[in-house]
């Protein structure tokens, strides 16, 4: 049991002491992308070899979460503790084990797989949410504590009042990373003010956007950080119970979270009288069936209650009537992961990064026709060009870029001409797309915008819950219409109907799924209208 900040710091020290003799670490990424290529086997083989060579005192081999550059899986990094120097190797295979061990022995070999750490991919990123990803062992609470974990929570419990925490979050300017970008501090303040004997904190780990895996990576790489953020939120708002809602398709994330919760309980970090403070908080993981709509706030809450996950009309908002009718705070995984750093370093530190209205950093999943696919964390306000060409390494095969899709099925396509806009909530919205949860698809000149629009509409159609008419029928009708355009069989009146229907679906659907479903169509009409006109057959 860790009962005070002092004990926590002592705990961290003890862990560091125990590793005193090992000056080096070999960190094998066991995140989902690397794991699918056999990272676990590689780690085992490496461990055995290091032991066989009697190097296990000097160097520890550990499994860590996602390092970022998924296109270079399997990733292994070598960390020199004295020099605080990390060297990353990409595309590592089983038969590289001997060479990897060579790095410890004589500091040579495996040059050909060494990543250039001076590449903008590494230097232009700013890691806050992902600071521990690829660094700590997610299965080991002590590793998290040794890296400064839970200091924010214990400091808060000993030295801060709930309103101080809310104030820091407000000062930080943090906005929800789940898509909507609602100010997090404001949301917390609302619930803190509501009088109720029971309040809930819910973490949205549903991550239904096709191609997105930011939240999965955080849950797999640094589960304690989410727990710490939720506990801080609970303390700030007067809640004592929380749920993390994760889709069942993320078994590794579920495993890591459950393990972390158990470890936190065993150390007295979850449960009753945390840090002898009179603050109680406990957490449970709830599995979702993987319906996109269950990521929508009201549907998610309904699903946790054990009902069919269908949205309901707001108001009432969750802050008034959420889980079992009680005041509830729902935040995204990445939002919660930002909290401990904010409390530790102060709201002003956070708001000094990014832009005025979009502070801090944002994690993106880069996919599509881009060289460096994977996970990156960048300061808000970076231009799309820097993000794609510097960090992303540019378009695959150096083809001309045509468009960038952001925000998933609720987002839109940004044409090449607008590449110099800033990546922040307002700028993206201004050009007809959204930040969304951070999916970013790069498309080269061969991409067909009609097919892109149809792909997302078909997704929305398949995921529509069917409760309200405009979304249920509208997404099907729109998919069929787009199909006609793709096949170049549309008529002139179809184009008008397409636009009219988009308007009705957008304006009269019940929840965000239907309201946003037309966005990919509207943005492609805005920037690539000629492709629609080419889809109309001559009479």
């Amino acid at each position: 049991m860790i009962e005070s900040l002092e004990e926590l710091l002592a705990h961290a020290l003890k862990k560091k002491e125990s590793e005193k003799n090992s000056h080096e670490e070999l960190r094998v990424c066991i995140g989902s992308s690397c794991a699918s290529l056999g990272a676990d086997e590689l780690k085992k083989g490496l461990k055995t070899k290091v032991k066989d060579e009697n190097l296990d005192k000097q160097c520890s081999v550990k499994g860590v979460g996602c390092n970022g550059l998924c296109s270079a899986a399997i990733m292994v990094s070598h960390y020199d503790k004295e020099k605080e120097l990390e060297t990353i190797y990409g595309g590592v295979e089983q038969n590289d084990i001997d060479d990897l061990v060579g790095i410890i022995k004589d500091k040579s070999s495996l040059e050909n797989k060494k990543c250039d750490m001076n590449e903008p991919f590494f230097t232009k990123q700013k890691k806050i949410v992902l600071e521990n990803a690829g660094v700590i062992d997610p299965d080991d609470i002590d590793d998290y504590i040794a890296h400064g974990g839970y200091i924010a929570l214990f400091t808060a419990l000993e030295e801060m009042r709930p309103e101080d925490i809310i104030n820091e979050v407000k000062v930080s300017g943090l906005r929800g990373r789940g898509g909507g970008g609602y100010p997090t501090g404001l949301k917390w303040e609302t619930v803190a003010k509501v009088e109720s004997n029971q309040k809930y904190i819910v973490c949205n780990g549903d991550e239904g956007d096709p191609g997105a895996f930011m939240d999965r990576a955080v849950m797999e790489a640094d589960p304690h950080k989410i727990i710490e953020g939720m506990a801080l939120c609970a303390y700030a708002c007067g809640a004592d119970k929380g749920y993390i809602y994760v889709r069942a398709e993320y078994p590794e994330a579920v495993k890591k979270l459950n393990k972390a919760i158990k470890q936190a309980r065993n150390n007295g970090i979850l449960g009753n009288q945390i840090a002898n403070s009179g603050f109680n908080f406990d957490l449970e993981v709830r599995l979702g069936g993987g319906a996109f709509v269950c990521g929508e706030a009201t549907a998610l809450v309904t699903s946790i209650e054990g009902n069919r996950g269908q949205p309901r009309q707001k108001p009432p908002h969750l802050s008034n009537s959420g889980l079992w009718g009680e005041p509830t705070i729902l935040n995204n995984v990445e939002t919660f992961a930002n909290i401990a750093p904010i409390i530790k370093n102060g709201g002003e530190w956070y708001s000094s990064m990014g832009t005025k209205n979009s502070t801090g950093t944002k994690v993106f999943a880069l996919t599509g026709n881009i060289k460096n696919t994977g996970l990156v964390e960048v300061p808000m306000g970076i231009t799309l060009r820097e993000l794609i060409y510097d960090i992303g390494g540019g378009v695959t095969d150096d083809k001309p870029l045509k468009a960038i899709q952001t925000g998933g099925p609720s987002g839109g396509c940004i044409p090449e001409e607008l590449l110099d806009i800033k990546v922040d909530y307002d700028s993206l919205k201004e050009v007809g797309s959204i930040m969304g949860s951070g999916g970013l698809i790069v498309m080269d000149e061969n991409s067909n915008m009609l097919e892109v629009a149809r792909f997302f509409m078909e997704f929305s159609k398949d995921e529509s819950c069917g409760k309200c008419v405009p979304c249920r029928v509208g997404t099907t009708e729109l998919t069929n219409l787009l199909d006609k355009f793709v096949k170049k069989e549309a008529s002139k009146s179809d184009f008008q109907l397409l636009k009219d229907m988009c308007e009705v679906v957008k304006e009269s659907s019940l929840c965000g799924l239907g309201q946003a479903a037309p966005n990919p169509v509207l943005s492609t009409i805005k920037y690539f209208e000629n492709e629609y006109l080419e889809g109309i057959k001559d009479d």
Binding site: V469, T476, V504
Partner: protein, 239 residues
């Protein structure tokens, strides 16, 4: 007996000054004042789901459209129920309902007594604005008194709600999502084998279309007796 203090709010619907109990919805106050707002999934006394979107209204100063069946009234708000924008949207939504399944009125037992049909007449919808997309479901005529024809169902869930909220049987629910969604009995069994169905017929009486009807009834006979259900709800409330 008045339990809570009832406050009154004053506001405007279509430029008419109205008052309503502070806990009322826009739709309730409109009804009290004889202002017609079209509805399909709404039924007095059942929970409101805001699903059909026919009752959407505009609020001055906001570009959003909100369903009047779930929106609570606010002091000094100005509600618009019949702008050309709203009528355009409602026409499209109604068209979508017609396009989704088969609503050939001439061969329907509810012809002349169908809420969907009268909505279309009221709003002047002469032809469907969107293509038909109907796939076709099997009719369930297994029950000894009633028939369920999913092809005429508009998924308003009035039957589901009356069965669970008034009858207390919860024999009905929804299966599937999107346009494949379908009302089912128990675990998608034939109606006749449903163990939770009490054969009370409330679902049939509240169904706005010809999706649920009495066996052997002709179009002149099959007049839905919604008031049986709404009176019952009212009677319970007053007890």
């Amino acid at each position: 007996m008045i339990k809570d203090k009832v406050r009154v709010k004053t506001f405007k619907i279509d430029d008419v000054a109205v008052t309503g109990r502070s806990d009322s919805t826009i739709l309730e106050v409109a009804k009290e004042h004889g202002i017609h707002i079209p509805t399909l999934c709404y039924l007095e006394g059942l929970s409101c789901v805001g699903a059909c979107r026919m009752c959407i209204v505009e609020i001055k100063g906001s570009s959003k459209l909100i369903p009047s069946c779930t929106a609570k009234i606010k002091e000094d708000m100005e509600v618009i129920t019949n702008s050309s924008r709203l009528i355009k949207h409602r026409k499209m939504i109604l068209s979508m309902i017609f396009a989704e399944r088969t609503h050939t009125c001439s061969v329907c037992v509810s012809n002349g007594h169908c809420e969907l049909q009268s909505q279309a007449t009221d709003i002047g919808l002469e032809h469907s604005l969107v293509p038909y997309i109907h796939k076709g479901f099997d009719v369930d005529a297994s029950h000894k008194e009633y028939v369920y024809d999913p092809n005429r169902c508009i998924l308003c869930t009035r039957c589901v709600r009356v069965c669970s909220e008034v009858e207390g049987a919860h024999a009905l629910d929804i299966l599937g999502r999107g346009i494949s969604a379908k009302i089912i009995h128990d675990m998608d069994e034939p109606w006749s084998t449903s163990e939770s169905c009490t054969s009370c017929g409330k679902c049939v009486q509240v169904c706005p279309t010809g999706a649920l009807f009495e066996k052997g009834a002709s179009a002149t006979e099959m007049v839905k007796k919604k008031s049986i259900v709404t009176n019952l709800i009212q009677a319970r409330k007053n007890k």
